[in-house]
Every structure is written in structure tokens, then in C-alpha cells.
């Protein structure tokens, strides 16, 4: 049987690869990504299952799934030209992706199927830092965290639990890590950006609260507090927290190895190991 050996929560800010190239390996962003990468390498994963919110680059307003799973042997990304990120060929495992979708549908989640797609910075930036050789296959699970109405936090958590069951019923022995991609409080190109910038952190108190609840693994409190109005109040990408909540559904009750807040950006870097 496949097993979940660890889980991660990371941001995907598209300008971070440029900043790290400019500011070097001792810079704050580089060090944060080194911390999660060291954990990932130690876990020796055979597969990454990544919960992700696309920024209308994989999908568009003509056809916008609430939940979707990528079922393909390879996909490319990023498709939105973040600076200093090459376009990668990313391997995937279509049979395993189809098994996740079947298991989720059996559990009552009508997850869309997507077989020919590219991904944006929200998948590619974490991989750029954490698996730059793209040696580990990735199955993306897309959650609409940007375009209201957003799915409920409880639903996303339960989707994570269904994905956990899917992984644990996969007949081959594999080491799997799950990942949630995104920020807690961030507005991008919207009315609540900071003066002079293209982004801003409208609700730093909420970002701090999320970090506190993650550190203490108070998942029911996080789910009940992560209402649509709270997440949108935290910025137009505040719903990316749903990717973290889905990830939490895959890991049980074990406390994280670490949660490293980066409050100026309204997000954190976190890692869990198998209980």
C-alpha cells in the first residue's frame, strides 16, 4: 500500500524565484524554502499530491471547476511567465490520479477530470524550489479558492480525507507527500494592495491566527473560522487557505514539525511527518 509520509504547506508567490536569484541563498525566502526542501528530501517521496488554486491560467471563467484532478503522464508549467522560472516538464501518474478521482467521487465529491493542461506559478514555484530536477511525479488537485462562491472549508478538509483514503488504498508500495499551496492573507492586483505595490496583506491578524491554529493543530477551529467572508476579507487570494485545509485532511492529528510564518507576505512554510 502507498503511505503518506509527510505533508507541507508552502506559498507560491510568483516573484520569489526572481528575489532568490537576486538576493542569494542566505536570503529569507531562500532559507524558508530550504527548510521545507530539507524535510522533503529526507522523506524520499515517490509522489507529491498537491492541492492548488489556479489563477485562471489552467482554467478560465468559461469552464471553472470547484474541484478537479489532473490525470495525465506529464504536464508543463508555469504557463504565466513568472520571472526566472523555466517552463518545466512535470511527470505525473495518470493511473494514480484516476484512482484519487474515483475514490473522491465514491466519497461524494464530484471532482472534474482534466487530462490536457498546463499549470501556473501556483504549482510551478513550489516545485522550482523544492524539486528543481522535477524528479518526483506530481498529481495536482485543483480547488477553486479565488472565484466566489468558494467551497466550504469543511468540504475541502473532507476532500483531503478522501484523498488520504485513496493514497492508502493504492495497491503499490509508495511514499507519498501531500502539499497545500497558497497564502492566508494576500490581495493581488485588487483594491486592497499596499501603496506602491502590486500586492498587500489586508488582514495580518488573520494570517497570525491561522499560523497559531496550525501550530496547535486546532483544525476544527480553523475550519469553523475559515468562512468565505473571512477568507475574502483577508484578500482576493485568501481562499488559498483551502488548499492547506485539504492538505490537513490527509495527515491526521499530528502536530507540525514546524510552522514558519512570513507575516510580511501573509503566509507560512510548514511541514508534517507521518505520525
Amino acid at each position: 500500500m502507498a503511505e503518506i509520509v509527510g505533508a507541507f504547506g508552502v506559498p507560491h508567490t510568483p516573484v520569489f524565484p526572481f528575489f532568490v536569484k537576486r538576493d542569494g541563498p542566505d536570503s529569507e525566502i531562500a532559507q524558508f524554502f530550504k527548510a521545507v526542501t530539507d524535510e522533503l528530501v529526507a522523506l524520499k517521496p515517490d509522489l507529491i499530491v498537491m492541492f492548488d488554486t489556479d489563477h485562471l491560467n489552467t482554467f478560465f471563467l468559461d469552464n471553472l471547476p470547484v474541484f478537479a484532478v489532473g490525470v495525465t503522464d506529464t504536464f508543463k508549467g508555469p504557463n504565466d511567465e513568472p520571472r526566472e522560472v523555466p517552463v518545466y516538464d512535470i511527470k505525473s501518474l495518470p493511473d494514480f490520479g484516476a484512482h484519487i478521482r474515483r475514490t473522491a467521487i465514491d466519497a461524494g465529491f464530484d471532482v472534474a477530470l482534466v487530462q490536457e493542461f498546463t499549470v501556473d506559478h501556483s504549482v510551478a514555484v513550489p516545485l522550482h524550489f523544492m524539486t528543481p530536477q522535477m524528479q518526483v511525479p506530481v498529481i495536482p488537485i485543483f480547488i477553486n479558492g479565488h472565484v466566489p462562491p468558494l467551497p466550504k472549508a469543511q468540504r475541502c478538509f473532507e476532500l483531503g480525507r478522501a484523498v488520504k483514503r485513496a493514497i492508502e488504498t493504492w495497491p503499490k508500495s509508495m511514499r507519498v507527500v501531500t502539499m497545500g499551496s497558497g497564502s492566508f492573507s494576500l490581495d493581488v492586483w485588487g483594491p486592497r494592495i499596499a501603496p506602491g505595490r502590486s500586492d498587500g496583506v489586508p488582514d495580518p491578524d488573520w494570517a497570525s491566527r491561522v499560523c497559531e491554529l496550525l501550530e496547535q493543530m486546532q483544525v476544527p477551529a480553523l475550519i469553523s473560522e475559515a468562512t468565505e467572508s473571512q477568507m475574502l476579507k483577508a484578500g482576493n487570494v485568501g481562499g488559498e487557505l483551502l488548499n492547506w485545509i485539504a492538505m490537513l485532511g490527509t495527515i491526521g492529528e499530528r502536530k507540525p514539525e514546524f510552522v514558519k510564518p512570513q507575516m510580511a507576505n501573509g503566509h507560512a512554510y510548514a511541514a508534517w511527518r507521518r505520525g
Binding site: H55, L56, N57, F60, L61, D62, D80, E81, H146, V147, D187, V188, W189, G190, P191, R192, I193, A194, P195, G196, R197, S198, G200, P202, N236
Partner: protein, 90 residues
Amino acid sequence: MSVYAVNHLCRELLRDHAFRAAMKADPAKALEGKNLTPQERDALLAGDVATLYRMGVNSFLMGYLCRFEVCGLTLPAYNERIRSAAPHGN
């Protein structure tokens, strides 16, 4: 439905490099034939992102107007205008 056309052409700025070049060279000409209301066309050509936002245009997509510096938009201009659309100040 037409706000959809604004959203769509914003994304085409990212995807379609010929359209991006046309929008940088002569936005009025590049927008000819697009399914836009007069108000949408005027707001686009004026770089009036606050009005576009109030019409319901998606913020990330509108950001491409600034990222690729079309319709007179630079980061300072975009920033000042979009922040004026904040419902509760900033």
C-alpha cells in the same frame, strides 16, 4: 456577459504575444472588433481599473494590463486607481 470579454482579453495579453504587442502599440485599434460595451471600451482605453473593477472584472486578470503596461498603465497609476475602489478604504 460582456465583462467576460474584458476578462478574456486581459488573459489574452498574457497568452497572445501578438495581441500584447498590438495593445502596446495602439490599444484603440487592437480593441476594434472586441465584444465590448462603450463603457468597457472607454474604461479600458483610459486605464480606469477602478471602474473596470466595479463592473466585475477579475483583479488578477486586470493586473495583466499593468504588468504589460498597456492603456497607459504603470504600477503607480494602477496602484492609485485600484486602491480608490476599495470598499472600506485601505
